[in-house]
């Protein structure tokens, strides 16, 4: 027997209070009489002789004491272990989540150990009817209700864990609902490494201890607006020793190695930067020799930014083109709606409608005098985002024609009094005009040039910050954005596209890795990973050097509470006491 609320036993003090009150009541019952002779004579009546002990043992007092004791015990909520051998309808819940793939020192997976323990338990029972459910985030019924026998054992031994995450209460309820609900079973046995919580019914759980584990618990990549990709990796040391964890991050063509030292039970984060990466599929791998290898690799995908469309007018210039290509992927076009228009040594009738960089271009409102030129280092009188990181004094101009600008403008760089770089004031789009030929300056060979071009693209084109790629978990439905036909592939080849609802498509990834979805809007890559919960142990004390014994490792025994029964008994005693008391009063009340 045990008590759910042991503090409630303090209420047993009420019993002593009842006895104390009874004693006080006996002492205080005193009556003055006018003449005592008649009462004195009653001493000869046997029933009236004083027997104090007997007087104390009043049936009413006994009832009151019993009632108080029952109430106090009801508050303490005693419970007794139910007899577990009586049930014949058994539901076996086998934890088939990914963590059950972990291998112990004897090379057996946790799942195999769970099967072994389950078989041992079932062998002890006299001919039970058994249902077996593989429990994970996608539970499945392995064996329907059938008499337990060799065929059941064979099915159990041939089963395997999934890559899915742990099941929650709803998952288990839905699986049992297919078998008639939890109430259809006399016993529900659960075997796994982490018992489910928040179940509305009692289960008997056999917990198998996990081995020490090293894991990548989170992996994410982000494309930086200024170019390049950052990778963030969270690693966990679920061992009892300090561990130096070496992580290799790859974008398919480039590898980055990062390392960190973690305390026992500690989690840490490392980052890797790919400054010129064009990849969209990233992999983080942990070089670890632990029992659970499934969480040593994680995947991440990103949707890369679309290329910058450039309309080039005039002569080609390889310095300018290289600087543009270094800043962003380019796609040259003749369309007027290009992201950026580049005009090099050409004449325009009017300013382009979209952002533009004009180098030594002839424009209405811009008059240059070719026979009057200046030379010297550039200077700037303004603070402008275009010049962020640019040092004007590093720019030398050998030949700059004097110019008269009739357009509304702002001078960003100048040589002497002559404008070198101006921003035309146009509310529709940003236009920047470089009045000198690049070959007449040292710009192509300075670091200021690529900085200036990068600033120009960020400022003029206003490209959106790249969004992080899609992420998904194994065993969870992955809806597809495509509404029409779509095809999908995964690590093991083609993947079936499921139709859910009226017009929605989805896939169910069963393994971690990259999945591609091809639809009317193009192809999209999704990284599917293991549920990070599978990598973590529920508590440090679950880390053990040796596998724990299996037999009878019941951590959630089936208890039956005696509280309601005791409360009912207390009520019944109270009613009986009231009846006895009222009967006494009817026969001759207590009042004097």
């Amino acid at each position: 027997m045990s008590f759910a609320n042991p503090a409630g036993l303090a209420a047993l003090g009420a019993v002593f209070l009842v006895i104390l009150l009874a004693l006080l009541r006996v002492r205080e019952r005193r009556r003055e009489v006018a003449e005592i002779a008649l009462w004195r004579d009653l001493r000869s009546v046997p029933a009236a002789r004083i027997q104090r002990a007997r007087a104390l043992v009043d049936p009413l007092l006994l009832l009151q004491v019993a009632c108080a004791a029952a109430l106090a015990l009801a508050v303490a909520q005693p419970a007794w272990r139910a007899q577990t051998e009586r049930g014949q309808h058994i539901a076996v819940l086998l934890d088939a989540s990914a963590s059950m793939q972990a291998v112990s020192t004897d090379s057996a997976t946790l799942f195999a150990q769970a099967v072994q323990v389950a078989v041992q338990q079932l062998d002890r029972l006299p001919a039970p009817n058994v249902s077996v459910v593989l429990v994970s985030s996608r539970p499945s019924v392995l064996v329907g209700p059938e008499p337990y026998g060799s065929s059941t054992r064979a099915v159990l031994h041939s089963s395997a864990p999934s890559w899915n995450g742990d099941a929650d209460g709803d998952d288990i309820l839905s699986a049992l609902a297919a078998l008639g609900g939890a109430e259809a079973f006399d016993r529900i046995l659960w075997f796994g490494d982490r018992p489910p919580v928040s179940l509305p019914f009692a289960i008997e759980a056999v917990v198998l201890p996990r081995e020490a584990n090293l894991a990548i618990t989170q992996f994410a990549v982000r494309e930086r607006a200024s170019g390049g990709v950052s990778a963030f990796v969270e690693v966990a040391n679920e061992t009892v020793e300090f561990q130096s964890l070496a992580v290799v991050v790859s974008d398919g063509s480039t590898r980055a190695n990062v390392e960190t030292l973690l305390e026992p039970g500690e989690r840490g984060a490392v980052t890797a930067f790919f400054p010129s990466s064009r990849g969209s599929r990233f992999t983080a791998s942990l070089a670890a020799d632990d029992g659970f290898v499934a969480d040593n690799v994680r995947y991440a995908a990103i949707d890369r930014s679309p290329p910058l469309s450039v309309r080039w007018i005039g002569e080609d210039n390889r310095f300018l083109r290289s600087a543009l290509e270094a800043a962003a992927p380019l796609e040259f076009t003749d369309a007027a709606e290009a992201d950026l228009t580049v005009v090099y040594d050409a004449a325009l009738a009017q300013l382009p409608p979209r952002p533009a960089l004009l180098v030594r271009a002839q424009l209405p409102g811009l008059v240059t005098e070719s026979n009057a030129s200046v030379s010297g280092f550039a200077a700037s009188d303004v603070s402008h985002p275009l010049l962020e990181g640019v040092r004007p004094e590093e720019i030398y101009v050998e030949h700059l024609d004097r110019a008269e600008v009739a357009l509304p403008h702002r001078v960003l760089l100048r040589v002497g009094d002559n404008p070198l770089l101006i921003e035309v004031a146009d509310p529709e789009a940003r236009h920047y005009v470089l009045l000198s030929d690049l070959t007449a300056t040292n710009l192509p060979i300075t670091v200021e040039f690529p900085i200036l071009i990068r600033n120009l693209i960020e400022l003029a084109v206003q490209r959106a910050t790249p969004a992080p790629g899609d992420e998904a978990l194994v065993g969870r439905i992955l809806p597809l954005p495509a509404s029409g036909d779509a095809t999908a592939w995964g690590p093991a080849g083609d993947v079936d596209v499921l139709r859910i609802g009226d017009n929605e498509l989805a896939i169910l990834p069963e393994k971690p890795g990259f999945y591609g979805i091809a639809g009317p809007d193009g192809e999209r890559v999704v990284a599917v990973n293991l549920d990070s919960c599978e990598s973590t142990l529920s508590a440090p004390d679950m880390i053990s050097e040796e596998p724990a014994g299996f037999a009878g490792a019941v951590t959630q025994p089936h208890w039956r509470s005696l509280g309601p029964g005791l409360a009912g008994a207390a009520l019944a005693l109270l009613l009986i006491e009231s009846y006895v008391e009222s009967s006494r009063r009817r026969r001759g009340g207590r009042g004097l």
Binding site: R30, E32, E35, I36, R54, L592
Partner: protein, 292 residues
């Protein structure tokens, strides 16, 4: 102590008077002049003439019509004092309301009736002895003295009727109507004082005032009983059997009390304190021949 009596109660009292055997007797008017002042003579009946009768008493009109000699008889009213002996011992403290309070109210009512009937009335509280008696007098002013004598009531001391009657006889030389109001719990010592009263010629009536729970106790469980007069203590376990035995013993004692009083020719009126005073006066005492 609660208020003894109020005017409304007194106004509501019936027109009753004490009835004395001596006063109720018939005498030939004028034969023995009353030695006492205030007496009156009223016609009572006719009877046949016998030699020696006063010829003045012959009704000559009847003789003329019927030719028979009849003489008239008259009621001779004598002035009979009323003595109210009220027990104020500690035992009268018991009950709810206390028996002493009930006795005091009843005594005041009786005194008021007697005074209104032009009787001389005296009040004699007693316990172990007489306590501050009020000598018999006429007139309603006497009622005020009664009130002062009985208010406040503080019952105390043991009961001794023999000693009290001894003192009473020493203080009053004239016989009269003696009404004793007490709980009469000591039966053994009653005979001698009652005999002395009877010997003097007093007409004695006993009104026993009891608390209902003395007649029918309802106590149960372990009870310590304390005698309010002697402080003697008896602890008993009271149950149905003990209560039945008590009631049986109580009836036996009442029977003994009636026997002792009957031998002295003293009527007994048992009055529980729950009984209205009007009922006691109008029904019990009237039907018992004490009042009319």
């Amino acid at each position: 102590m609660q208020q003894l009596i109020d005017e409304d109660f007194l106004r509501r009292l019936p027109q009753l008077r004490f009835l004395s055997r001596r006063r109720a007797g018939t005498q030939l008017g004028g034969t023995h002049a009353s030695p006492r002042a205030g007496m009156s003579i009223e016609f009572a009946d006719y009877r046949a003439y016998t030699p020696g009768d006063d010829l003045r008493a012959v009704d000559w009109n009847v003789f003329a019509r019927l030719d028979r000699l009849l003489v008239k008889t008259f009621v001779q009213e004598v002035d009979v004092p009323v003595y109210l002996l009220v027990d104020v011992s500690a035992s009268m403290r018991c009950g709810s309301p206390p028996k002493a309070l009930y006795a005091a109210r009843l005594a005041l009512a009786l005194g008021y009736l007697a005074l209104r009937g032009l009787d001389r009335v005296g009040l004699f509280p007693f316990s172990e002895r007489l306590l501050d008696p009020v000598a018999p007098r006429h007139g309603l002013a006497q009622f005020g003295r009664f009130l002062r004598a009985l208010s406040p009531i503080d019952p105390a001391g043991r009961t001794s009727l023999p000693a009290s009657v001894e003192q009473f006889l020493g203080r009053t030389r004239e016989s009269g109507i003696v009404v004793i109001l007490s709980d009469f719990l000591s039966v053994g010592e009653l005979a001698e004082p009652l005999a002395r009263l009877r010997h003097r010629g007093d007409e004695v009536a006993a009104i026993q005032i009891l608390d209902p729970k003395e007649q029918m106790p309802v106590a149960t469980g372990l009870v310590e009983f304390v005698d309010v007069e002697t402080d003697e203590r008896v602890t008993l376990r009271v149950g149905p059997a003990a209560l039945a035995e008590y009631r049986r013993a109580f009836e036996n004692r009442q029977h003994a009390l009636r026997h002792v009083l009957a031998r002295q020719g003293v009527p007994l009126f048992v009055t529980p304190t729950s009984r209205p005073l009007e009922a006691v006066l109008h029904t019990d005492l009237r039907s018992g021949g004490i009042l009319r």
